[in-house]
Symmetry: C2
Subunit: 610 residues, 2 copies
């Protein structure tokens, strides 16, 4: 991807932007806000900047919105001016402080949603002026800065009644180029959207008030697709039995989202018909299934998705229970295994827009990793299998009440249990398993190769007696009932080896060493619960000082929220695939060697504990 | 509407084009073909012209398709260059003689459909190259000159199977910017569209083979909406009882079209799924009902339509039985009572593109008239009521077997009867009624004011005895059973008065006299059957020499066929509302005076019979 340098005056901020990015988005990329009220449609004329260096032809929108004299002076609408050369340009000062909200990982987001309501007191038709109902609305929207709006058939059908119900006083609901609804009277006090993160395991819906930028409430629940398998591959396997199975999986996903929505609507007294947009993040398979697009080729070499680009769809045909003409907007994916959830993570963390060199790791069935900064970013996905979720561990369980989520091995065994340490432990969840393995390393019971030592080799070790045989396999006895075997540890080792090898390939691509990584961001549900120190101890993440490792929570939801609150953020999110290089590990001939290398645990003395 | 002058070299042809028209369409307007293979999307780069005079900024498409050097020399893509100044430009000679078909009223139409099939032998994905199925198709289409194509959800759903059914050998079906289907293998030998004229009375469907430009067959039938009333107003009245009634009317219209389509598919062995486009003409009310948009405000002052602009819709939600993802494209209307059928008439006759000054008259419940030439054109609609269709005449009937369709009054009465003159006459159809009234005028039995003379005033007239009393009204006895009364003649007089007054207002708008009209075109079913001489005798059309009056048949269907065969014609058709001024008679304060004036029949001696 060819990049050009754009310098924005008076701040002097420089951005290296892929060819074809607009001056508007490139500025936003580095946090410079340019005035705009039309959502980047080229119709409000407010985003003009003065191009000081570099030839930039005026666009039809420039001719429509700007006086010829200004065009001669170099003024251009930033939202329609694509970068095909190096430029220096000047941004006029904002006329007023923009409204903003905090979203993502501590990011300030301008409150400038793609979804807007416009109250229109329309002129009434007379015998002398008989334009059509649609033209009347369209002309009024054009005057208000929302030109070129397209109605759906259902909106056309609603127009004659809607216009006449309150004497041509209406509110138009606009999402991007779509006229979503025309409602009688002034309904501007009700404007909601929903951010949805469709995880393989958990689905999270956050209802957003787009007037205030605040979350009204959030709700989460298990993805009902779990009935068809715990992970992406088993879901795809189910889908292979035919289109009825794909439909079944879709209904499960839509059903899950809808029940969360209904819960939110009920609890916060919000009407479904005042929710006009859903922005959806999720891995590529989840998005395929949500749209009832067969995901089979994703699971078969060479692992190809049906679509990766962002989609903008009507809600009704999907069955998503927002306003039927509302829009469902999916995030783009980078590849079949680096999905829209990761793109949303990247948006939420700002990692591809800032100078700090960061590594983002989101571990589930696949370990996805993104490494980089505004200068350059690369991403990959490593096949981790379900080990991190404790799925193939006999004692494995979800992080629900009674699950061991933390382990400390000292003179004795101390456990942290979900729901309270006085509960009877029922099993081990993913973070507990990682803690256990890390602690086995730290306490010297597991060697670098991943071999559990013989009790005979652990003479005098206070926990030596806990190493026992179960079904012919050496095991560590955590409680009377709960133990973890050597083969189970091998599986985790293999999973972390794959992720670590992937990260290694990313570091090589950028030509950096582990110590160059300024921040490691652990994303997703797993990232929230994992003990960063343990993750480092087992070598899942590079050996960086502990304070550089941060759990950033459900960033996929955060990115979706940002895209709801600001069309600027949405455009950045949708352009991210242009900015991030996707590295397919299956195609990397060095991956296997590296994987074998990374199977080993890091030497304990090399772990820098600050 | 501001107009600019564009001169095309080397022919030197000049066109005065409304602001914003493209150089491509303006050239086509005067019959100059510019090379193009992408359907005007700005993606094939073939339509470049050299701008010799008048500043014209290059567009983003110019930058993408043309070398910088050519842009500096003045080359521009004609399809994306909008006219905002006077220009002189040079069109390169066509590289090869374009394929053309005859359609419309003897018009030569380049065979260049908006709907195309593109056979794509796609590269197969590998581990190194894993773009999504959609991206693979989209990139290949882009290379073939069809960039920026948008898939529907259903097409996305079909992609994984379609690409893999024949090893990534597929045929893409593209209509405008829509990806309508992706079919396994090479299916380019099957490409059909259907032109539909939804008349209030009759619906005509013409199945077109878009590879050859030939009509495969045509089928027509009565509009099943007839069950809800004979004319537009009674249909609208029915629709007022609520949305269920609107749905009923839609189902009737769609049912009519579908049964015609099924007939065509069966007779000509064409598969429904190989018909990907329907271009629909019809009056505004018919289009509203076809789309299930409530037409009520059309019937109530100030007579406003919900939409007049052309619509491009998926077939499936409308229930139209072509390929479910096929496109249904409606013609634009000029006003609530000068509908898409008239726009299609104007396209088919070429009257707004040529220098000949023509008057087009399409008479039904409303008498629509368009007057003008390439220089300027005006249109109106006069409320004629059902008189021309003989609806309120006791002896009135449709033009079916046994209807009197022609009358000559000489020494005796001679009748022309539908189905053969030996049949027993059953009644009088519209053209028969007009003939009768004209003949009554010619034979001196009806005075200029429309009064049937007393037999006492007609001493010696061979037909004097046929003037008799029926139910207290003076009547003319046509056969033993069939007679026409004075009040019935008054009703026809009133209808023709309204139409003639409308035409008069159009002539005044253009500042011309009746003798300036070079051709009178009688369009529609009525135009086909009416005796031009009688139309002139009763004053329905201006008193021009008879050879200037032509029945042009079902031009609404012809215009729709043209729009199927050529994207160039389609664009012209869709732009026609910009070129034709609509005059609303209800808003014309002079209309009533003129109407009363035009109630009189023209003096017989002033009718120029050549």
């Amino acid at each position: 991807m060819r990049k050009f340098e754009v310098t924005y005056e008076p701040s002097g901020r420089v951005v290296h932007t892929p060819e074809g990015t607009t001056l508007f988005n490139a500025a936003h990329w580095v946090g410079l806000a340019i005035e705009s009220t039309c959502g980047g449609r080229g119709t409000c004329g407010k985003c003009k900047v003065k191009v000081l260096e570099g030839d930039l032809d005026p666009t039809p929108e420039d001719h429509r919105e700007l006086p010829a004299e200004e065009i001669t002076q170099g003024w251009r609408l930033a939202c329609k001016s694509e970068v095909h050369a190096d430029h220096v340009c000047e941004i006029p000062q904002l006329m007023k402080a923009p409204k903003a909200a905090t979203a993502g990982v501590g990011r300030l987001v301008l409150l400038d949603p793609s979804l807007v309501k416009v109250h229109l007191e329309l002129s009434k038709p007379t015998l002398e002026e008989t334009k059509s109902d649609f033209q009347r609305v369209s002309d009024a929207l054009d005057l208000a800065g929302y030109g070129g709006i397209e109605p759906t058939l259902e909106v056309l059908r609603s127009l004659p009644d809607a216009l006449r119900a309150d004497d041509f006083d209406v509110t138009a609901v606009v999402s991007g180029k779509h006229l979503v609804a025309v409602e009688p009277g002034d309904t501007c006090d009700r404007l909601y959207g929903v951010a949805v993160d469709v995880g393989t395991t958990t689905v999270v819906a956050t209802l957003m008030d787009l007037r205030t930028g605040m979350a009204v409430g959030a709700s989460s629940g298990l993805n009902r697709q779990a009935a068809f398998g715990a992970d992406v591959i088993s879901r795809i396997n189910h889908s292979m039995s035919g289109s009825a199975a794909v439909a079944e999986l879709q209904e499960a996903a839509v059903g899950t989202i809808n029940s969360l929505l209904h819960e939110l609507y009920r609890e916060f007294s919000v009407e479904r018909d005042n929710v006009y947009e859903a922005v959806v993040a999720g891995n590529a398979t989840m998005l395929h299934l949500l749209l009832r697009v067969g995901p089979q080729p994703i699971a078969l070499s060479p692992f190809v998705a049906a679509f990766l680009h962002p989609l903008d769809l009507r809600a009704a045909p999907l069955g998503l229970d927002i306003h039927p003409e509302g829009r469902v907007q999916t995030f783009p994916s980078l590849g079949a295994y680096v999905g829209a959830d990761i793109v949303s993570d990247v948006l939420a963390t700002g990692m591809a827009q800032e100078d700090t060199l960061r590594l983002l790791v989101d571990v589930g069935t696949n370990g996805e990793a993104v490494l980089g900064s505004a200068e350059r970013a690369v991403a990959t996905s490593a096949p981790a299998g379900p080990a991190f979720e404790g799925a193939h561990v006999r004692a494995g369980m979800r992080a629900t009440e009674g699950a061991i989520e933390g382990v400390v091995l000292g003179e004795d065994v101390r456990l942290q249990i979900v729901g309270g340490n006085d509960l009877e432990p029922q099993g081990l969840c993913g973070s507990g398993l990682i803690d256990l393995v890390a602690q086995l390393r730290v306490s010297g019971m597991l060697d670098e190769a991943g071999r559990m030592l013989d009790p005979a080799e652990l003479k005098g070790h206070p926990l030596a007696a806990r190493i026992v045989e179960h079904d012919g396999a050496r095991s560590f006895q955590l409680t009377d009932q709960i133990y973890v075997t050597q083969p189970e540890i091998r599986e985790l080792q293999s999973a972390k080896g794959a992720v670590a090898a992937g990260i290694d390939i990313l570091m090589e691509a950028l030509g950096i060493a582990p110590e160059d990584v300024e921040e490691v961001l652990l994303a997703g549900a797993f990232g929230t619960y994992i003990n960063p120190e343990s993750a480092r101890t087992i070598g899942l993440v590079p050996a960086v000082p502990l304070e550089r490792i941060k759990a950033v929570g459900n960033t996929a939801s955060e990115g979706a929220k940002m895209a709801l609150l600001s069309f600027r953020e949405r455009e950045i999110g949708f352009e991210l695939p242009k900015w991030i290089e996707y590295i397919e590990l299956s195609a990397d001939s060095g991956f296997n060697d590296r994987f074998i290398d990374k199977l080993r645990f890091p030497p304990i003395d090399k772990v820098t504990i600050p």
